[in-house]
Every structure is written in structure tokens, then in C-alpha cells.
């Protein structure tokens, strides 16, 4: 049998080579050509946070998604991908979906947040920490709305809401006309990132006159935080603090470059990473400086540590302390100076001191100064927020873009955004109060060069720093040692400061304090699908059609004879 076959094949090759060529070549070409990847819609999705902090898991635990889409209106949500729009989002519905063991949740955010009503934004901001704290096994994704996605949502909503309430015929008709969507992510399962480094930056300005000069430390964390790392731009918290710190560095580097204004204080600037993860960068920096090295500015004679956090908005300033400063200490002087400067320069600004003891039993430290407080360094945090629990500090709603559209209008909104005038006003106040402490001035004696300090605060400089920082997400999981954020900040530091150094932190291998996970940004495909019942229905229809075909072909003779009868009389008449 095989011999015969080979004979035939050989004959074919010999006798009609062109024929085989024609038959086989196109077949081979068609078979090897790459399959087209067709999808109804392809869009980028941003995964919810996934990290472990001190052994405690936060956020979603999963990244793989391959289920059919539904909206919350559907009766059965189990093992379905639940689509939600921010407009209709509520925590109760989210919880309900998870209780029904939904396969995944995709929350659709509007492209332009400023179109959202304020209360929805406020509500979402408050829900964000709860979303993270909840134990979530299924993947949760965020997507930015576009027309295609919106149409997918409306179609899904239509099919979800009409379920269960209609007759069988209606359901059958519905399956033929309506579209279902299969949501599929392309990436792999999320896994822990080993050896992630959190980078912090340090730079200083040395004072003159004597050996053991007091040191003032200025600190701000540069990372941002939100429910999804790729969406956290952190404008007010803490691009504003970084902007103020950089502006102070610029101002004092100028003052320190003149002999007459070179003061007897060392200024130490520190931009910490991992600030949203219990101030990991600060913790490591303190350990490095206090425990390991012999000589460090932090070891001897620290006047105070001033942490800058969330300074871009608001009509009040709060000095958060964990221990009220003693009379006569430099800390107390700064407090008094700040009080005095605010009351004289901007009387409508409310300034007060907020006292909160360090709660070591708590999982998270409230403010950055508590890291220093634990190491017995006199420290406080300046912020326009009254409480560290304010949702603004860890929200994806904290964006710059909202404010830029409102800048000119001067509208007063409760939107989380950075208002440039207030940022520069705060910077001026801090700069003046610091100058007064450093140069030991009372109200009356104000040297001419120094009187211009607050005036030299450049609004453009502040705004460009904030704009640049908020142009990219700066979540701690995304900013590594070589990222442009760190290198640009380092360049900025080295322009004005001396001894600029990077400090990197890695989590301990055996007992990691923080663990980050990857797969935070993925491409999601929405494939148009039909339910299995539709296939059956289609099969029945096709069978009926084929039966009709068979009938028609079988009885083709009838048509033939009819046509013949029509033509025959004509030929007879001829």
C-alpha cells in the first residue's frame, strides 16, 4: 500500500512538476503564515496594588484574568469579570461582587477626572485604603475610559440587566443579537520582586564657624501612592513637599555661597524613598547614619528635623509633633518663628501645632517625623492636613492635571490638587521662618540680603518641579535606582548641594519588611463572544437551511419543467 502511494507521488513529481508546485506551495505558504491576533478591543489596564508590609498582605493577590464580563446588575456574578464605572462605584457593590466570588473586577475610570462630581471623588478616595486592606484573591484592574470601552460596558450592562426576567424565547433572541465579552489579560501571574531597591537621596550645605555646628535636617519623601501604582501621580502628596525642599535647597545654597550670609548651621537635605511604605528609606538612612558610621551629622547636635509633607493646598498649616518642644530649644524657636511669620505675612492662614504620640503598636507610622522621633531626634512634620489619616495622602485622585485647568479661573474647589499660589506662599513662610532661626534674627533686625529671601522664591521653579514630578507615576514599585525620577532629582541636588549621595534599601531576604509584586500594568483584550446556546441555535438554523437546500436541489426538475413549459409554446408558434 505504501509502495503504491510512493509510486503515485513519484509519478506526480515526474510527470507534472508544475502541478505539484502549484498545489503544495500555496498550501505551505498559507499554513506557515502567522495567525492574526484579532480582538474587539485592546486596552491598557493597571492592576491594583499588591504588596506585603511587615508580613501583612495588601491589595489583590492575583493577576490572571480570563472570564466573561458582567456588570453589577447581573444576577449571577460568580466567576465573571465585573465591570464597574467610577460614576456608579460603591463599596457595597464591590463587596457584594467579591462575596459572590466574582472572577475579577475592572473599574473604569474616566479619562478626565475633573468631569467627575466632587462627592464621588471624595467617596472613592476614602474607599481606596479599604480596598487595599480587604483580602482580595481575585485580580482587580483599573482602566481608563474610551469610547470603545464605554460601548463594551453599555453592551455588557444591557445583557446583564435583561437576564433572568424574560421568557425563554426572549432569551434565545437575545443571545443571537447581544454581545458578550471575554476579558483576557496577556501577562503572567504576579510574583514577588526580589531585591527591589528603594533609593533615597542625601545632600548637604556645610555651615561655617566652629567644629560642632548644629544641623538642621529637611526631609520629604518623593514617592506616591494610590490604589493602583501606575495611576498614582501624587501631586499634593508629596510632589509639593519635594518642590518646597528643592526650592529651599536652591535658596539656601545661594545664601551659603556668600561669606556674609554663610551661617553657622549645617543644612542636611534628604529625599526619602518608600515613604508610603512606612518610611523605609528614612529608616534605613537613620540606621546607616546612627548605627554603622562613626561620624555623621545626624549623630551629634541635630537642632531639629523638619519633614515636609502635603503643602500644596489648603488655608491652614499644621505642625505635627510627637512631643511638644521644650522652651528654648531650636524646635521651639522654629515653632515661634513660624507662628510669628504666618501671623504677620498671611493673617488668614491658620497655623497650629498638632500633638500626637507615637503609637508603636500601630502597623503604620503616622508621619515621617516619627521615624526620627523613635531614634530620639527632635523632629516634626509640616503639612496642611490636620490628620495623617486623610485619604488624600494615598489616593490616585491626587493629580496635577485637574488643577492646571482651573489655575487661571481661580475657582475654589475641594479637589485634591496643587494650587500654585498656596504652594509658593507656604514655601515663602517656611523659608523665612528657617532663615530667622538660622541667622538668629528677631523681628526688628532683618538684614537687607535676608529680607529678600522670601521674595526669591520662584513660582515657575516650583510649578515646573511639580509638573515634572506629576507627569509620571512615582509609586515605590516603579521608581528604581536608574529611573529618571531618581537621576533627575540627583542632578538637581548636585547642582545646589554638596556630598550628594544615594542610599538604597533592600528588604531583608529572610524576614522581608516589604515585598513588592510585578505585573502592575497589562494589556487586556476584550473578545466578542456568544454563549454556547447560541451555537446550538445556529446549528439548528443551519440544519434547517441545509434541509431546504436539499429539498430545492432534489426538486430542481420542477423548476426546469416549469421554465420549459414557459418556453415551449413560443417555439411551437414559430
Amino acid at each position: 500500500m505504501f509502495e503504491e502511494a510512493s509510486e503515485v507521488f513519484e509519478n506526480m513529481l515526474k510527470s507534472s512538476f508544475p502541478l505539484t508546485f502549484i498545489v503544495f506551495l500555496p498550501a505551505v505558504l498559507i499554513l506557515v503564515s502567522p495567525l492574526p491576533a484579532e480582538a474587539a478591543h485592546e486596552f491598557t489596564v493597571y492592576r491594583m496594588q499588591q504588596y506585603d508590609l511587615q508580613g501583612q498582605p495588601y491589595g489583590t493577590r492575583n493577576a490572571i484574568l480570563n472570564t466573561e464580563a458582567r456588570t453589577v446588575e447581573a444576577e449571577v456574578l460568580s466567576r465573571r469579570c465585573v465591570l464597574m464605572r467610577l460614576v456608579d462605584f460603591s463599596f457595597e457593590q464591590y463587596q457584594k461582587a467579591l462575596r459572590q466570588s466574582a472572577g475579577a473586577v475592572v473599574i473604569i475610570l474616566p479619562k478626565n477626572m475633573s468631569t467627575m462630581p466632587q462627592d464621588i471623588v471624595q467617596q472613592f478616595m476614602e474607599v481606596e485604603p479599604e480596598l487595599l486592606a480587604m483580602e482580595t484573591v481575585v485580580p482587580v484592574y483599573f482602566a481608563l475610559e474610551d469610547d470603545e470601552l464605554l460601548s463594551i460596558y453599555t453592551q455588557t450592562q444591557l445583557s446583564s440587566s435583561s437576564q433572568g426576567s424574560s421568557s425563554a424565547a426572549e432569551v434565545l433572541l437575545h443571545t443571537a443579537t447581544a454581545n458578550g465579552f471575554q476579558m483576557v489579560t496577556s501577562g503572567a501571574q504576579s510574583k514577588a520582586v526580589s531585591d527591589w531597591t528603594i533609593t533615597s537621596l542625601e545632600g548637604k550645605l556645610n555651615g561655617v564657624g566652629g567644629e560642632d555646628l548644629p544641623t538642621i535636617v529637611l526631609v520629604a519623601h518623593y514617592d506616591s501612592f494610590g490604589v493602583a501604582p501606575w495611576l498614582s501621580y501624587g501631586a499634593d502628596s508629596n510632589a509639593s513637599g519635594v518642590a518646597v525642599l528643592l526650592e529651599l535647597a536652591r535658596l539656601f545654597s545661594r545664601l551659603y555661597s556668600y561669606k556674609r550670609t554663610h551661617a553657622g548651621y549645617n543644612l542636611l537635605f534628604f529625599l526619602s524613598g518608600g515613604g508610603k511604605f512606612n518610611y523605609q528609606g528614612t529608616k534605613r538612612w537613620l540606621e546607616d547614619n546612627l548605627d554603622h558610621t562613626e561620624s555623621s551629622l545626624l549623630q551629634d547636635n541635630v537642632a531639629f528635623v523638619l519633614c515636609l509633607d502635603t503643602l500644596g493646598n489648603g488655608d491652614s498649616l499644621h505642625l505635627h509633633v510627637s512631643k511638644p518642644p521644650k522652651e528654648g530649644s531650636p524646635q521651639h524657636t522654629l515653632l515661634k518663628e513660624l507662628e510669628m511669620v504666618t501671623s504677620t505675612q498671611s493673617p488668614d492662614l491658620r497655623f497650629n501645632m498638632v500633638h500626637k504620640k507615637i503609637n508603636l503598636a500601630d502597623d503604620m507610622l503616622a508621619w515621617e517625623h516619627e521615624r526620627f522621633g523613635i531614634r530620639r531626634l527632635p523632629a516634626f512634620t509640616l503639612s496642611h492636613l490636620e490628620s495623617h489619616r486623610n485619604a488624600l495622602r494615598s489616593s490616585i485622585m491626587d493629580m496635577r492635571s485637574v488643577s492646571s485647568s482651573l489655575d487661571g479661573a481661580g475657582e475654589v474647589t475641594a479637589w485634591p490638587h496643587v494650587e500654585l499660589q498656596k504652594l509658593s506662599r507656604n514655601t515663602k513662610l517656611i523659608a523665612e521662618a528657617l532663615a530667622r532661626v538660622i541667622y538668629n534674627l528677631t523681628e526688628k533686625v532683618m538684614k537687607r540680603q535676608l529680607a529678600t529671601v522670601p521674595q526669591q522664591v520662584q513660582e515657575e521653579q516650583l510649578s515646573s518641579v511639580v509638573d515634572w514630578l506629576t507627569a509620571q507615576p512615582r509609586a515605590a514599585q516603579l521608581v528604581d535606582k536608574d529611573s529618571s525620577v531618581v537621576s533627575t532629582l540627583e542632578y538637581y541636588f548636585s547642582r545646589y548641594l554638596k556630598d550628594v549621595k544615594q542610599h538604597s534599601t533592600k528588604a531583608d531576604k529572610r524576614d522581608p519588611e516589604f515585598v513588592f509584586y510585578d505585573q502592575l500594568k497589562q494589556t487586556m483584550n476584550a473578545y466578542r463572544v456568544k454563549p454556547a446556546i447560541f451555537d446550538l441555535l445556529l446549528a439548528v438554523c443551519i440544519a434547517a437551511y441545509l434541509g431546504l437546500m436539499y429539498f430545492a436541489v432534489q426538486h430542481f426538475g420542477i423548476l426546469y419543467s416549469v421554465l420549459r413549459r414557459v418556453t415551449q409554446p413560443k417555439t411551437k408558434q414559430h
Binding site: P18, L19, I22, V23, P26, I30, L31, L35, P36, E38, A39, A40, N179, Q182, V184, Y527, R528, V529, K530, A532, D535, L538, A539, I542, Y545, L546, M549, Y550, V553, Q554, F556, L559, Y560, L563, R564, V566, T567, Q568, K570, T571
Partner: protein, 225 residues
């Protein structure tokens, strides 16, 4: 979607061919190899057409959405080679007129079905994404079967020596319609911006009309003498 969906599309596309083959009596004439030969001729003609097109018709580089009227017309003119091919197949087969026509048309249409629809169905209809276009493609293959039968009949009539003078004109018109049908359809769809289902319906109706006309002529011709 699923393998089941592919099965649906496949059945819709292929079964009419099978039914036609069985019911038209071709199977009783043992005409299978003749049909395969017709298919081989189809492949040869297509290859020649492709070579010709690639040599003499540069790719259209106009803007997207602009309809290249002249170019498309010239391309449709190349389809005249199909008529030659069909004539070639029929001239090599001896037998009654109906038999020759059916063998040529079946072989021709089946070869086209296998070469141009099999792979897209296998790749597309089995994919995760659902699209009506595979069902439409299957319907289209049914229409093209009818189209080729009619075309073969017209070619057969055109090449007869004893064709009465009065038949010359209508047969030639029908020939022209057969060749330029797809071109005219495309133009029609382009001008009136038809949806894919409407276009399919229009195509079915046109093909049906052409087939009826050729059947009418065929009957008149066969039974007149």
C-alpha cells in the same frame, strides 16, 4: 469562538456542494476525478492570473478609502481568464452539455472553496472572537457555487457552433455580467455604503437573477432543436 462554531460554518459552506454533487447525478457518472482535474485547472488559471496581475498591475498606492475605479476594472478584466479556463475544462470532457457544465462548475467552485475559504474559516471561526463574517463567508460560498454553474452554462452556450444568431447577444451580455459581477458588486457596495448583510443579500439576488436568465436560455437552446 469554539470548534463547534467552526463546525457550523464548515457545514454551512460545504454541505451544499456535497448535496449538489450527490443529487445532480454526478456521482453516478463517476465524475470525481474529472472534478479534481477541473480544480487543478482552476489552480493553474489562478496562478497565471496572479502572475499577470503582479507583472502588469502595480499595487495601488492611492490614499486609503479612495476607490481606484480604473484599476479595479482592469483587474476584473483579467477574470476573463476564468472563462477560458472553464472552456478548457469543458472541451476536454466528452459528454452531454449538462454533464460537462456540472463537472466544470463543481470542480471549479470546490477548488475555490478549498483554496480561499478553508484556511480563514479554520483560523478565524475557531478563534476566541465571535464574528458574523464567517457565517457570511459560508453563505457566500453557496452563492458562488450557483454563480459558477451559471457561468459554466453560459460559456458552454457561447462556444456552441450551432448557437442561433438571436442568442448571440443575450449570451454575450450574460458572459460580461458573470465576469464583471464582483466588480459591479464592489462598486455598488462602495457607492451605497451597504452593510455586510445587505451586500450579501444583493449578491444573492443578482446571482439568482443571472442564473435564472442563463437557465432560461439554456432550456430554450437545448429544447429548440
Amino acid at each position: 469562538m469554539t470548534l463547534f462554531h467552526f463546525g457550523n460554518c464548515f457545514a454551512l459552506a460545504y454541505f451544499p456542494y456535497f448535496i449538489t454533487y450527490k443529487c445532480s447525478g454526478l456521482s453516478e457518472y463517476n465524475a470525481f476525478w474529472r472534478c479534481v482535474q477541473a480544480g487543478a485547472t482552476y489552480l493553474f488559471v489562478q496562478l497565471c492570473k496572479m502572475l499577470f496581475l503582479a507583472t502588469f498591475f502595480p499595487t495601488w498606492e492611492g490614499g486609503a478609502g479612495v476607490y481606484d475605479f480604473v484599476g479595479e476594472f482592469m483587474k476584473a478584466t483579467v477574470d476573463l481568464a476564468d472563462l477560458l479556463g472553464l472552456h478548457l475544462v469543458m472541451s476536454r470532457n466528452a459528454g452531454k452539455g449538462e454533464y460537462k457544465i456540472m463537472v466544470a462548475a463543481m470542480g471549479w467552485a470546490t477548488a475555490e472553496l478549498i483554496m480561499s475559504r478553508c484556511i480563514p474559516l479554520w483560523v478565524g471561526a475557531r478563534g476566541i472572537e465571535f464574528d458574523w463574517k464567517y457565517i457570511q463567508m459560508s453563505f457566500d460560498s453557496n452563492i458562488s457555487l450557483v454563480h459558477y454553474i451559471a457561468m459554466a452554462a453560459v460559456v458552454w452556450m457561447f462556444t456552441r457552433y450551432d448557437l442561433p444568431k438571436s442568442f448571440r447577444l443575450p449570451v454575450t451580455v450574460l458572459l460580461g455580467l458573470c465576469v464583471y459581477k464582483s466588480f459591479l458588486m464592489e462598486l455598488f457596495v462602495h457607492i451605497f455604503l451597504l452593510g455586510s448583510w445587505t451586500a450579501l443579500l444583493v449578491k444573492a439576488v443578482t446571482t439568482g437573477a443571472i442564473s435564472l436568465c442563463s437557465l432560461f436560455l439554456f432550456i430554450t437552446l437545448v429544447h429548440s432543436n
